[in-house]
């Protein structure tokens, strides 16, 4: 028998109070109450679906419950299976819907007002919610956008805009909600005096939201005092009182202790997630450090207490995206004691988490060693390892100023963001590269292209055409966005939004408003082009029409031909023959995107990642790389599963050949069997040294799972078995409890058998 995971020893002792919280958190997850859903395969592939009249991609609530696909226990909210009870009393349904921030803010305030304060025994960090805005408020861009959406889909693109940015919590944590409200009031008065009704409307919306958050936190304070007064157990009574004092203070004031700081983040993230989107929450070790340092110096806090507060927050928030490390403004290492404590908190409980560590050459070596040790011992892809200097370069290349770029935060699956200054549609738009590729094949046949270069140029031309249609669609969406779905909550912790009276989604609401686009299927198109180049244009063994017909037929009756196409050199084996075509293709994609502007005058950026589109088997046809329609595509910039046969180092070399700084993310996804490490001493050192070499070669991000995929197959059929209850994996850019995933995602995952010993 081999092992499902490496055997690990518990580093930190867990007391009985914490054990109760862990047990409850796991029960919620295993029973499906933390699941996040997506609509259908079309939504996953194109980030836009025709299904339904509107888009609520984060909850999938508008799809029939039985049709939706579970992305795993990814949700911040606790799903209690019932609709918002006051659905018919929502202000926009009573007083009439208006597409503006004020109407939006009123609905949000109503949602908060009727979301009960829930405090459970044994907790010191509190806060839970059940309903999100996209279930209660219309999220409809109207017929024009819908039509353009269909047009984009037909061209091979899609997208939506919903968060996927990163607020700057250093604002709220130093000003408090009261401080933010004061700024809103001041600017509201200014714009009233200057008679600017649009800005007045926006700031009234912001005021509703900010006041509602204050009131919501006050409700928790009241609830805690009420529970305290009825509590007999002295210890629990004290805990309730402490919660009450904390909430009472941070409702308005900035947090004054580390404990209050963690609770402040808990509420800030919760209220942000109640909008229903996928934001990241930035450099937690940086904005929490002053509170930590102050408490430690004054003897008010121990490292262990700090660790436990963070554990509690992780258990409740489902490990939202936070990041650690990176550099300070002066270029020195930003790692501090909070970086350690956050890492230790994950180490303590394992479980669901999405931390990222931003490595650079000057990072505290001891800390990075610990990071690799944690990654290996838990084997669940936590944390993601990210090349800080490269993502800074990527931001600089887009045009982010030096003064901002250093503060970049790894914020989601593969993406990063300048906290509080970006609204860039990270991870929400897609181009399916197969679509322009297939159109180019059709044209090559019709127009009788005689050499490969003509075909290549045509692929890029068709890709450009797809992007232009996407651009038209996105512009129409952007025009509607600040009215239909302003990000009022997130904008409270942004730079300049309140002063400008503009939402971050509005033109110039924040400084950086690039349009990021995930490109799906680049390795498949590179491999296909290479096989066509060899077998059609060089060896003239087949005509392009024969290739198209065979592929259209899913290779039926053409097995010899398929095998020939399959056995051409493939991307991911460090073969310059085909890798150079991959690099050329990525460069061409970047060039097209560089020359495309959104209606904010800011450029498009491609990402070498697409979070789950590759799993959509049978959504796309077969491809000339020898792939059947029923096989998954390549995930992001990784080779198609099973095509890389020369081992991990060769695959890493292939990925590192691309000019990765031209893209907004692209992660090397690695699944290793525990037996991979048989006979290797110091596994963490292997991971450290591997990551250092990969990063120095220009690699961007590493997601590493250590799990026996063969044994894990059994969990698909027997999710009830105790040994599978807490198996957590980094599925693509995010982690999930394996048994909570939809079957299509599970099957794709266990099929990733790429690296032997």
């Amino acid at each position: 028998m081999s092992k499902l995971k490496l055997e690990t020893k518990q580093r930190f002792e867990i007391n009985s109070r914490l054990q109760k919280l862990i047990t409850r958190s796991r029960e919620l997850a295993v029973s499906g109450k933390r699941n996040l859903y997506t609509a259908d395969e079309m939504q996953i592939a194109y980030h836009w679906s025709d299904k339904g009249h509107a888009i609520a991609p984060q909850s999938g609530e508008w799809v029939q419950r039985e049709d939706r696909l579970s992305l795993g226990d990814h949700a911040c909210r606790v799903d209690i299976g019932i609709d918002f009870p006051k659905l018919n009393e929502i202000p926009s349904r009573i007083d009439g819907y208006k597409a503006d921030a004020e109407s939006w803010g009123r609905d949000f305030a109503f949602l908060l007002e009727h979301s009960p304060a829930e405090i459970h025994p044994y907790e010191s960090i509190v806060g839970e919610f059940h309903w999100e805005m996209n279930e209660i408020r219309k999220y409809d861009f109207g017929p024009e956008v819908r039509e353009l959406g269909k047009k984009a889909r037909q061209a091979g693109a899609g997208g939506t805009s919903h968060g996927h940015t990163c607020p700057d919590f250093s604002i709220g944590i130093t000003q408090g909600w009261g401080g933010i409200l004061e700024r809103i009031n001041k600017n509201l008065a200014k714009y009233e005096r200057l008679i600017n009704p649009n800005k007045v409307t926006y700031l009234k919306g912001a005021k509703h939201v900010c006041e509602a958050i204050i009131k919501y936190i006050m409700n928790y304070a009241e609830k805690a005092f009420e529970l305290a007064s009825g509590e007999k157990d002295e210890e629990q009574k004290a805990l309730y009182k402490r919660i009450g004092e904390c909430c009472k203070n941070i409702a308005v004031n900035p947090p004054s202790t580390f404990y209050e700081g963690v609770q402040w983040i808990q509420f800030a993230v919760m209220t942000d997630r109640m909008v229903g989107h996928g934001n990241g929450y930035g450099r937690i070790d940086q904005y929490l450090y002053p509170l930590y340092k102050n408490d430690i110096e004054n003897g008010r806090l121990t490292r262990e207490e700090a660790r436990i507060y963070l554990v509690e927050m992780f258990l409740k928030l489902r490990g939202q995206f936070f990041c650690l490390g990176g550099r300070k403004r002066d270029g020195s290492d930003a790692t501090n004691e909070v970086s350690w404590v956050v890492m230790e908190a994950y180490d303590m409980i394992d479980d669901y988490n999405n931390l990222g560590v931003m490595w650079h050459e000057d990072m505290d070596k001891e800390f990075y060693a610990y990071v690799c040790d944690v990654l290996v011992r838990h084997g669940a892809g936590v944390p993601s390892l990210v090349n800080y200097d490269l993502i800074v370069d990527s931001e600089l290349r887009s045009g982010v100023s030096e003064d901002d770029a250093w503060n970049v935060a790894y914020s989601g699956c593969q993406w990063y963001c300048i906290p509080g200054k970006e609204y860039c549609d990270q991870d929400t738009n897609a181009v399916v590269m197969l679509d322009p590729f297939n159109r180019a094949i059709d044209r090559a046949i019709k127009e009788n292209f005689t050499d490969f270069e003509q075909l290549y140029d045509c692929v890029i031309e068709e890709f450009k055409r797809t992007c232009e249609v996407l651009c038209e669609f996105k512009d129409a969406q952007y025009n509607m966005l600040p009215k239909v779905w302003p990000e009022v909550v997130t904008s409270l912790n942004c730079h300049g939004t309140i002063e400008r009276g503009l939402d971050m989604t509005d033109a110039r609401g924040v400084d950086y408003q690039y349009t990021s686009t995930n490109i799906l299927g680049i390795p498949n198109v590179a491999d296909s082009l290479y096989a066509i180049k060899k077998l059609v244009y060089e060896q003239k063994m087949y005509t392009l029409k024969e290739v198209r017909d065979a592929v259209a037929n899913d290779w039926r009756g053409n097995e010899v031909m398929r095998i020939r196409f399959l056995n051409q050199d493939k991307y991911g084996n460090d073969l310059d023959t085909v890798d150079s075509l991959y690099v050329r293709l990525t460069d061409s994609i970047a060039e097209v995107m560089d020359n495309l502007r959104n209606n904010r005058g800011q450029q498009y950026r491609a990402s070498l990642f697409q979070f789950q589109g590759h799993t959509c088997v049978n959504t796309f046809g077969a491809t000339p790389d020898g792939r059947y329609a029923s096989e998954p595509l390549a995930h992001g910039c990784n080779p198609t599963a099973g095509r890389n046969k020369k081992g991990l180092v060769s695959t890493a070399n292939s990925l590192a050949k691309a000019h990765n700084f031209k893209f907004i993310g692209g992660s090397l996804q690695i699944e290793l069997q525990p037996k991979f490490f048989d006979g290797k001493e110091n596994i963490w050192q292997y991971v450290r040294d591997f990551s250092l070499a990969y990063f120095r070669k220009g690699g961007m991000q590493i997601n590493l799972n250590i799990i026996d995929l063969n044994l894990l197959k059994d969990a698909i059929e027997h999710p009830e078995r105790p040994e599978y209850q807490n198996i957590i994996i980094k599925i693509t850019g995010y982690t999930a409890r394996f048994i909570c995933l939809d079957r299509i995602f599970q099957e794709e995952f266990v099929g990733r058998q790429n690296y032997d010993g």
């Binding site: 092992k3 020369k646 048989d678 040294d689 120095r696 070669k697």
Partner: protein, 319 residues
């Protein structure tokens, strides 16, 4: 043999079992020994061979149709190549769409091999690794290896020679000056057993070994010496044998030796024998248990070899 090209049967990138750190291992073809357990049977013959992979074959028979000498014939057990008739022209290899028929060996120029080595340079740096010449017995092509290592040293890349020890003395003399680490196989001290299991006595191997040790001492060279003993159930993997090797090493060489690896048996090569159409007597033999491997390590320690230089490596049976 043309000295500026070499015959190889494989290159592995990112290996961690063939010397210090992470390495690229180059497998040179040809070996004077014929060990019963050989894990690279395709590396024994120096000359070219064609082999057939039953797992890749799709049964299209294009190989048979392409062969002008009618050397390729199918039957219910697979595709067979008649060695008498085959002239190694490669028409079957070219015809095969599935890469099931393939040449075992490939000629490489020095530049091509250096290019392969340089691909992984960043990994050598972070892992303190480098290049290993293995085989087969790399010293069969010692003139090439000597040049190859010389070039690698100029590029600042660490070199390791993985040798069975059976080679002319001049072969060692040509390669050692550019070698940072020698991985020296000692399978048996007993020459009769050596003859029985490997086909050759170990007289020359032992002589070369003392030469290597003396070379290290005389030149005062920073030459790392790793001893490797494959733990083969029923032959090398006995307390007596390991104890005997330990006594031999401890008696005269322990200061000069940096590490002694006991490499557990694995059966990863079973398909190679099938591809070559050969029977392998170790086919059904299971992996070693951790306890059994550790017992042999204890035997080595008890007979005087320093424990801090001893390591068990390779696959073990997980129960």
């Amino acid at each position: 043999m043309n000295d500026s090209t070499a015959v190889l049967f494989d290159i592995y990138h990112g290996t961690t079992h063939d010397g210090p750190g992470m390495r690229t291992t180059f497998f040179f073809k040809g070996c004077p020994l014929n060990c019963l357990w050989c894990h690279n049977p395709e590396g024994i013959e120096f000359g070219q061979q064609i082999w057939w992979n039953h797992q890749k074959c799709i049964g299209c028979l294009l190989c048979m149709k392409s062969c002008a000498n009618k050397a390729v014939t199918p039957d219910e057990t697979g595709i067979h190549t008649d060695k008498e008739k085959c002239v190694l022209c490669g028409s079957c290899v070219n015809a095969c769409p599935a890469e099931a028929m393939s040449f075992v060996a490939r000629q490489w120029t020095l530049d091509e091999l250096l290019n392969e080595a340089l691909k992984d340079r960043e990994f050598y740096k972070s892992f303190n690794g480098g290049v290993t010449a293995s085989g087969g017995e790399p010293l069969v092509q010692h003139k090439f290896i000597s040049k190859f290592f010389q070039e690698l040293k100029q590029l600042g890349i660490h070199t390791a020679l993985d040798t069975c020890g059976l080679a002319p003395e001049k072969a060692f003399e040509a390669v050692l000056p550019y070698t940072d680490c020698v991985l020296y196989d000692i399978k048996f001290v007993d020459s009769v057993l050596h003859q029985h299991y490997t086909g050759k006595q170990n007289t020359q191997i032992i002589k070369n070994f003392t030469n290597v040790i003396n070379y290290k001492k005389e030149k005062n060279k920073e030459l790392e010496i790793w001893i490797r003993t494959p733990l083969i159930p029923g032959s090398t993997a006995t307390r007596e044998n390991i104890g005997q090797i330990s006594r031999y090493l401890a008696a005269g060489f322990k200061e000069s030796i940096d590490r002694w690896e006991l490499c557990t048996f694995n059966n990863l090569c079973v398909d190679k024998y099938k591809k070559l159409g050969r029977k392998w007597m170790y086919e059904g033999v299971p992996l070693m248990r951790e306890n059994d491997a550790n017992m042999l390590k204890d035997a080595a320690m008890q007979e005087g070899f320093p424990s801090e230089k001893l390591a068990v490596t390779g696959m073990i049976l997980h129960e």
